[in-house]
Amino acid sequence: MSKKDLGLLILILVVGAVVTAINPRFLSAINLANTSNLVALFGILSIGQAFVIITGGIELSVGSLIALLGTLFIDFIAVRELDWPLAFVVIIVLGAVIGFVHGWLITRLKLQPFVVTLCGLLIYRGVARFYTADGTAGFAFGQNFPTLEFLTAGRSYGLPNSFIALIVIAIVMWVVLHRSVFGRYLYAIGKNEEAAKYSGIRTGRIIIAAYVICGVLTALSAIYFAMYTRSISPASHGQFYELYAIAAAVLGGFSLRGGEGSLVGVILGTVLLQELQNLVNLLGIPSSLNFAVMGGVILIGVLVDQQWGVFRARRRMIEATRQNVAGAPAE
């Protein structure tokens, strides 16, 4: 765990301690279970975003995708009565295809990630609303999917199953990002795409793969979100979720220029964001201030991090100068 991650963890613990002191319900089993379920849902989404951000890109369409894919999923199993495992696979494949198209437009046709995914944001939201004729997708009374519901909204050993899924995904993706050849390529491309290309890396393919990963994880979280809310009105479902994901990555130490950030960081970023949401509820802060609190904390966090960096660079320089001066007569 890097120092940055450690700092974030301490911040999470301090905020948690303060909230607990004011309202002990923060640590109640029910609150923890609820919060950890939300952490899981947003965490899966944010990991996907992190893979795109590390290449220096951005994926703005994930909120709309959660609405579209969630709507489709519920429609498939509730209305069209597909077997849920089949619907699950179809949705995941759809997420992968959409990610591939984004990556292809960005690398082959040289469109800017912001533009491509902004168009995606508008298109998928529109399609979702059109698909349900601006209605609501939901289950009929008495419709049950015991296995699916257990896997998405159930608990094992007191832990939400979604949270267990997040832990598994996080471990796998940690290995991919921090230990695999592909992960190294991602960092290299994020740091300097040109130089990576000159080292013989097929940068286009790697970037497309990052968008595919983002698409798949978004599709997965879309299913979780759908099973969590159980009814979706596509006009508002998942709105601003892309911003939650980006915020989690930024809080977790990712640079939007690419090439920087860790998997632990993005998970901690998600935890902090959900903790803040929870704090607004528990401390009786008007919920209209929700976004303002989040924005304020992110701004402060980024500021502290940046100033800390400046401070450390200066200290290192002074240290180096001192060593040079001390070492000079010996030479």
Binding site: V181, A195, K197, Y198, G200, R202
Partner: protein, 530 residues
């Protein structure tokens, strides 16, 4: 202080009078950088309405001289007299204030704005009132006479993006005139211009002269200098190699003064220990996007260092980029070991053992934020991985071995490459390719910005590669390096190979002649005695 600046000099119709007081004179100017004497005991003067041709090889001190005149650097010693006022050195403000204007090879224009807006950028005439709106009518009135003076055939409201390169240069010159320039310095203005455009520019220079404005014209194209210069100043190794009066300006004389000496210390890569082998890489009539109408053919032989010389912008880097798959090949074919090769990306080139040490080390050669080890294994990472997971042991082993072989000076292979010196960074670039099995190694300006010691080591490495049977192509603008290191020299001129020199015909003069598109003086005449 130079306060007599603009005292009516513009009204003078007098041109080049040897008797008139010089507008600018430099006396015994010296400038050193750590380890290099860039300019020494340099003196020259420029009279009103005089066109001075300034020539010299790359690295002869032209850029330093320009920086001193522009007020960007201060000379260590010497005097600069502008308009009768002596200075130890100029500041940027003094330089501009005394009417010295630059037109650089890389134009500084806003392509999205129109001509008038560019000329008076930041100095626009404003309408009265709190909104500070630009007075378009007045702006046009101010621009019109300037455009007339440079003989422009375009209007003040034409967008700069729509103009040809020569026209854009006219805009730059008009900009210079707008600040009442009395000396316009043109730095390689024609190097990117086609023939017809060049004519226009030479006319503009003559026009400036007729208006009593002095011009310093820097160019590698000696025949252009022959045509417009009143006097030629030749720089060599930071000193004045000679001055040629109007009647003595000719091509051969300029080349003689530019070279002037035998090779000093021949920069050695060691002699080839074996005869060149068969052809490894052969490019047949390939075309690059920079010179789409000029096909290039070149053959790289095993166990040979082929030097690729030529002036900046002659298409050498573009050729390397095409061979390495970075740029698209517009036409032609490439064979490797006699088999047709289709290189569509750098990854393809690397897979086939064709490696490039690029010109811009920091932007494309290495990743400054990664460690030495990570940089070295980057092109061959799958070989350092088990089941797609990087194996740190294998990675460190390769890096340590290369660090030792190449003598990379760093605390450890985990050191960030960004903290290394230029020479050590270049060794990291070489190391990543040497760790694989090169068949063809292309090096673009491999020793630029590298200290002497590291240079020699890099030459040694290149020779070792050639001795191991690798085909080496070295692009270099350093004449001594090209002659000292290469086994054969190919010279490019305006997008094409203008000639290939064998060892017996190596001379700076021959390289230079080919680089400017002339015939070299060969020992063996065509069909000569064997």
């Amino acid at each position: 202080m130079a306060h007599r600046l603009l005292s009516g000099a513009m009204t003078s119709t007098d041109t080049t009078h040897p008797d008139t007081a010089p507008f600018l004179s430099l006396e015994a100017v010296r400038k050193t950088y750590p380890g290099v004497v860039a300019l020494d005991r340099f003196s020259m003067e420029v009279r009103p309405g005089e066109v001075i041709g300034l020539v010299g090889e790359n690295g002869a001190g032209k850029s330093t001289l320009m920086k001193i005149l522009g007020g960007v650097t201060r000379p260590d010693s010497g005097t600069i007299t502008v308009d009768g006022v002596a200075h130890d050195g100029l500041t940027v403000e003094q330089s501009i204030g005394s009417g010295i204007a630059f037109v650089h090879q890389e134009l500084n224009l806003f392509e999205n704005l129109d001509v008038a807006a560019n000329i008076f950028f930041g100095r626009e005439p404003l309408k009265a009132g709190p909104l500070r709106l630009v007075d378009r009518a007045k702006l046009r009135d101010m621009v019109a006479p300037l455009l007339k003076r440079v003989g422009a055939n375009f209007s003040a409201d034409a967008p700069v993006a729509s103009l040809s390169l020569a026209q854009q240069q006219m805009v730059e010159i008009a900009k210079a005139l707008s600040i009442r320039a009395r000396l316009v310095i043109l730095d390689e203005p024609t190097s990117s211009l086609p023939m017809a455009e060049t004519e226009k520019l030479l006319d503009v220079i003559k026009g400036l002269k007729a208006q009593g404005i002095s011009v310093i014209f820097i160019s590698h194209r000696l025949h252009e200098i022959e045509r417009v210069a009143d006097r030629v100043v030749v720089l060599r190794d930071g000193t004045l190699a000679g001055t040629l009066a109007k009647d003595r300006i000719n091509h051969d004389e300029m080349v003689r003064l530019m070279i002037g000496r035998m090779l000093k210390e021949r920069e050695k890569a060691g002699e080839a220990t074996r005869a060149p082998g068969s052809v490894a890489l052969s490019a047949e009539a390939i075309r690059t996007s920079t010179y789409p109408d000029r096909p290039v053919s070149i053959e790289l032989r095993r166990a040979e260092i082929l030097g690729l010389a030529g002036l900046v912008g002659s298409g050498r880097t573009e050729l390397a980029r095409v061979l390495f798959g970075i740029d698209e090949r517009l036409a032609g074919s490439v064979t490797l070991d006699g088999k047709p090769l289709n290189v569509g990306s750098a990854a393809d080139a690397v897979a086939n053992g064709i490696f490039l040490v690029p010109e811009d080390r920091k932007l494309t050669g290495i990743l400054l934020d990664l460690s030495i080890a990570q940089n070295i294994t980057l092109p061959n990472l799958p070989a350092h991985a088990r089941r797609s997971l990087v194996s740190p042991g294998a990675e460190l082993a390769t890096a340590e071995k290369q660090k030792k072989n190449l003598g990379i000076k760093a605390p450890s292979v985990l050191t960030r490459t960004g903290t290394l010196s230029g020479g050590n960074q270049q060794k990291v670039v070489l190391a990543k390719w040497l760790a694989m099995n090169p068949k063809v190694m292309i090096l673009d300006e491999p020793t630029r910005g590298i200290d002497i010691g590291a240079k020699a080591e890099i030459y040694g490495l290149m020779r070792a590669l050639a001795d191991a049977g690798v085909a080496v192509l070295m692009i270099s603008s350093d004449m001594e390096e090209v002659i000292g290191v290469s086994d054969r020299i190919a010279v490019m001129h305006e997008g094409q190979i203008s000639g290939i020199l064998d060892k017996d015909d190596f001379s700076q003069e021959n390289v230079l002649l080919l680089a400017v598109g002339k015939k070299p003086k060969l020992l063996q005449a065509a069909g000569g005695v064997q």
